[in-house]
């Protein structure tokens, strides 16, 4: 685990942010999760990775690349989809109107498949609850599993991740942010609000 001092020249990083995972750690965690997914499901034949926008989608794509490296018979393009949960959230009335992301399932759909939901941070579990509802409207997978890069605790629902990149004990006042090369220009996991 790395812990770097905040660098002031990066504008998206406030002065009180602590880097808890850097690029290499994120890469190692994803590689391990990819192996665990293959191990748990005895191969990747029925696996579909569904990323939750915004940052779950690039994570799902990176996992797919790693699955294909281990099992070259798989096709990364048919392995990944995105699932937008905005319209299934239970907190829409408490926040400003959210922009709806896109839902794209792989061509074969999700019926009878093992769906692995991929998200960046697992916190209250409400996003995953919404995702489970969204999945049941889209088809009937054989099983649904959950992969999260960071599990920061404070669950409000009986939901547990099957694959975790890093367990990160936090206080509720802190804010965990995942930055990814695809969306933010670099890879890092930050905790903000610590003193």
């Amino acid at each position: 685990m790395s812990s770097a001092l905040p660098t002031p020249e990066q504008p998206d990083q406030p002065a009180d942010a602590t880097v808890v995972l850097g690029g290499p750690e994120i890469a190692r965690a994803l590689t391990r999760i990819a192996h665990e997914i293959l191990e748990r499901n005895k191969g990747g034949a029925d696996v579909v990775l569904l990323g939750i926008p915004t940052r779950g989608l690039p994570l799902a794509q990176r996992l797919a690349t790693r699955l294909v490296e281990v099992e070259p018979t798989l096709d990364a393009a048919t392995l990944v989809g995105s699932i937008d949960v905005t319209m299934y959230r239970d907190d829409l009335a408490q926040h400003p109107t959210r922009t709806i992301g896109s839902t794209d399932l792989p061509g074969a759909g999700i019926d009878g498949k093992v769906v692995v939901l991929v998200d960046d941070v697992l916190f209250s579990g409400r996003t995953i609850r919404a995702a489970l509802d969204a999945i049941s409207d889209l088809g009937r997978p054989r099983a649904v599993q959950l992969a999260a890069l960071v599990d920061r605790g404070h669950r409000e629902l009986p939901i547990r991740a099957d694959f975790v990149g890093k367990n990160l004990p936090t206080s509720t006042t802190e804010r965990v942010r995942v930055l990814l090369d695809e969306t933010d220009g670099r890879d890092a996991v930050l905790i903000e609000g610590t003193r």
């Binding site: 299934y88 400003p96 959210r98 709806i100 839902t103 916190f123 409207d137 942010r177």
Partner: protein, 325 residues
């Protein structure tokens, strides 16, 4: 955005956001299970003082697909026929807890009055008022134009910059034309209004649009789309209402027939807000041609109205920060 009363008050950013949201809503309507739980527990009242088939059904479908409860109210068969005022009707609906009121009224400005009177706390959506505005129709027209004419692929984020659209027919009585001129101008399209001088309103030269009296000349300029307006015979006294000599003469001058359709560029599309007067402003050849997107407009109407209901009803704009969870 609390209400949707007029396309004139929509900024470029808001308009593109509605169209992008409509795109996501349309994607959900291709699924086997089309219903979304988004507006569960919310109540949408359809308050229709004027006859309507497609707009009311479209709003009802949109609200139901988002799991809102829908109450349909039409002036016929209600206390309005006993002389109840708009105010008392609105207060009744407020007492029943309407989160959104979709209103169509024969008087221009009735939705504005409802929104600013304090009679209801709900969001007010204008579904057509007199000869003033019909914003969701203009939005679905813009959505249809964007889907067909902005170069394939995912049109999210695009506007209509550079497209040339001709709006043909009874501009004088048309709220669809007024809404479209403002919205298409906001989105960057060039609009030409085509009508006989008697069917153009006083002051049309101040609108952000060109005006022509000759349909054939406008078709020769190769527009990207032609939007035909319905000749609103119910707003005219006799058959031509003194606005044109005879229906046949109107058709000769301003009707879209097979000959004019053939003169249009190959990529151009034909829109009509419906209901069509076949044989008057549009011939059966034109209405049934593959370039007419009139049926698709109806389908897009549901997606656009879902987007408007979602954007007006789902969020709470008083909390400014979004918290990740």
């Amino acid at each position: 955005m609390k209400h949707l009363l007029s396309t004139g008050s929509l900024s470029h950013k808001q308009a593109v956001r509605i169209l992008d949201t409509a795109g996501q809503m349309a994607a959900t309507q291709a699924r086997e299970i089309k219903k979304l739980p988004t507006l569960r527990g919310r109540t949408v009242v359809n308050l229709f003082f004027e006859d309507s088939t497609r707009t009311r059904i479209s709003f009802e479908t949109a609200a139901k697909r988002l799991s809102a409860d829908v109450i349909n109210f039409s002036a016929k068969g209600s206390s309005v026929s006993k002389g109840e005022s708009l105010k008392d009707t609105a207060l009744t609906l407020q007492a029943m807890g309407a989160d959104a009121v979709v209103i169509r009224h024969h008087a221009s400005g009735a939705p504005h009055t409802l929104a600013h009177s304090g009679w209801t706390n709900g969001a007010v959506i204008n579904a057509g008022d007199g000869t003033h505005q019909h914003p969701t129709q203009a939005l679905l027209d813009a959505y249809t134009l964007r889907r067909h004419l902005t170069g394939g692929g995912d049109p999210s984020g695009r506007d209509l910059a550079g497209l040339r659209v001709a709006i043909v027919g009874d501009v004088l009585h048309s709220r669809v034309a007024r809404s479209n001129v403002q919205l298409l101008h906001t989105l960057g399209a060039d609009v030409t209004l085509v009508a006989p001088p008697t069917l153009l309103p006083v002051g049309v030269e101040a609108w952000p649009a060109e005006v022509s009296y000759h349909l054939d000349e406008v078709i020769d300029t190769k527009p990207d789309a032609i939007m035909m307006l319905r000749v609103q015979r119910e707003r005219m006294s006799s058959s031509g209402g003194g606005f044109f000599p005879s229906p046949l003469e109107y058709t000769r001058g301003y009707g879209l027939d097979a000959r004019r359709l053939a003169a249009m560029p190959d990529h151009a599309i034909v829109l009509h807000p419906g209901p069509m007067n076949r044989g008057l402003e549009i011939s059966a050849d034109a209405a049934d041609s593959p370039r007419a997107v009139i049926v698709e407009q109806v389908a897009n109407g549901v997606a656009v109205r879902m987007a408007v209901l979602y954007l007006l009803l789902s969020g709470n704009e008083s909390n400014e920060t979004k918290v990740d969870a």
